[in-house]
Symmetry: C3
Subunit: 268 residues, 3 copies
């Protein structure tokens, strides 16, 4: 196939997907590019991202949407894109609970302002849609959810997810800010990781996505790449998530994240 | 006390504070969580943050509000939260001058776009309130304010605040970008640190907050942790500020800041 | 001249420039400062930035506007400032094509959400102006534009711009994420660096600006400082760009970028 045919096939495949994701015949992003005289570049991007990247094996479409929503939440300024991708997530089979959990999970990594901005987008989206049937199926398995004491519960969760890496973080705080360690155990692990609406693998994959998007959380990215692998994720999950996010957070963020992944993979 | 009682006490204490901070019976943040089906998690967060963290000793409420405003300014995308916390700052005893100074101080660390976005929020807030009585009390003591020459004035301020750390920054620029050093001395120190509306300790505490929020300014965070300690701040000020900000900027930002603080404390 | 006279001269020069850049007798930024009781500080800033920094030799006014637009795009949250500086860029001789190219170039470094936000600002700006005559003059020379195969074309572009540094990035990905390298070669270099509307020197200067603004892309900043020098830029271009951006991204971002520049200059 010539490159022109390649491109045309990529664009056709991308247009088809973005129409499905956005539920609209004419994607707004193509109109935006056309309005500044760049209709052709807009089509190239749709071909490249939605035609090629989104169709790569190794990360199913619903997971691509969750990592996109997590990254857009962490960026803080991407409300309009978040509205689009949250709706797209529902279209490809995520439920509202997973979206809410994803955005809430990011609060521990990017802070509450980022999460509140994203929740406001979810609110607007949910209000625009007909009421959802209550989630069906069993809630995600969270083995420590039954531990009554929040600190003990958080400790169990941290141990299961982060393993030694989490314990090292806590130990390093003992002499200088032990209460920060307590907050992490009680809030992040005792509250967030107890919640049943998102599988642990998904919880870690969106955490990795948030850390990639922040760009300032490389030590924590490493801890949670370990975490993702500890709860059943694969190295391919890590790599595909990072590659996907290059288009949402930039190639430098992706390259720095790959360097972190390389270190983690070598340690295991 | 059982955990359920603990939580209920934390939430009652948090609700009381957030009602006072926001001047409203029903905090908007609880409505937001309720609107996406997370009323209970919203209450947990209010309990955790406003019930527990805000009541920790070591950082009085007005200072918590100034560091929150500084961090939200530096984030750049948190205008709606900034409006809330700026108003709360006034409620707990900060004056408008301190808010304006905090936002202006951040310009040197996060740049003018972040500061201009925050000033627009302050403008809206101030216009919604009755005129404030002119600030009473003596203005903050700024010993070098009387030095007429801006460069000399900035040099004196930098020496007093940053000590050797500042001089090293300037020396390191001598062979490659001496005019950047001059800008820092003349603008940051000659203009900003001369302004009387914020005590030096507050100026440094909000600078630390801005650097924590940025996440990309770890070398400068260290310089200004030194600075805060040089102008009468304590190690506890540093630790409490960082712990407080974990909820606004995320735990990775807090953890990386603690690592910076550890280095600085060890050097002194 | 006394400092008071200095300042008055700087402000007069700055006011003159900002009036010209913004096309308005009364700059909105002065009104914003006045509205919060800081008319005098607003005038100091206009004097310092538009009176002094913008008049420094080494970076002509149109290039200052392109680097400003690139940095504001990468920040993601600075839409209102971006609208002002994009219009100012047109006023001082940039054409719309250069603005669009600058914003598109940043997509590879800060991600598409940042670029889409900025394109929406450009759309609003362009719609508010009379139609522009089609760009005159020859398009920028892009020697590899004629290579038909996208991968081959991207490889040629990467080699010419980044030299060895680019090859090292690709080699480092070979065993862990070769497809990320392919994306960089095909998208960043094969698509973006093929576009004729921006000279290669300008393309690299705005890339440097985006990396400075991000603050999280120091390894990539070094690669593209090499890149700027490889395509005919000077060390002064690098230094002036960084110094200029201190006021848009903060002095910490500028200081960290200077440290990166020092390393690159020493290597050559």
């Amino acid at each position: 196939m010539s490159e022109a045919q390649d491109r045309s096939a990529s664009f056709a495949q991308g247009l088809d997907l973005i129409q499905r994701l956005g539920g609209a015949e004419r994607p707004a992003v193509l109109d935006l590019f056309a309005s500044i005289g760049e209709a052709e570049f807009g089509e190239q991007c749709v071909g490249f991202i939605y035609g090629d990247v989104y169709h790569r094996p190794g990360l199913p479409l619903p997971e691509r949407q969750l990592v996109t929503v997590a990254a857009l939440t962490a960026l803080g300024y991407a409300g309009s894109q978040l509205g689009f991708h949250a709706k797209a997530a529902l279209t490809v089979g995520c439920d509202r609970r997973q979206l809410v959990e994803t955005v809430i999970q990011v609060s521990s990594f990017a802070g509450f302002p980022a999460t509140l901005n994203a929740l406001a987008e979810l609110k607007t989206l949910f209000e625009s849609l007909p009421a959802e049937a209550p989630p069906s199926g069993a809630p995600a398995d969270v083995p420590w959810a039954g531990i009554e004491d929040r600190y003990e519960r958080g400790l169990a969760a941290m141990k299961a997810v982060d393993g030694e890496a989490g314990e090292k973080v806590v130990a390093a705080l003992a002499d200088i800010a032990p209460d920060l360690a307590t907050s992490i155990i009680e809030f992040t692990f005792g509250e967030l990781y107890t919640r049943p609406g998102l599988s642990l693998r998904h919880r870690e994959i969106v955490t990795v996505a948030a850390c990639v998007a922040l760009g300032t959380a490389l030590p924590q990215l490493k801890v949670h790449i370990h975490g993702l692998l500890n709860v059943g994720g694969s190295e391919q999950d890590v790599i595909e998530t990072i590659l996907h996010l290059a288009f949402y957070c930039g190639f430098p963020a992706a390259l720095n994240a790959i360097a972190a992944a390389r270190e983690v993979f070598a340690q295991r």
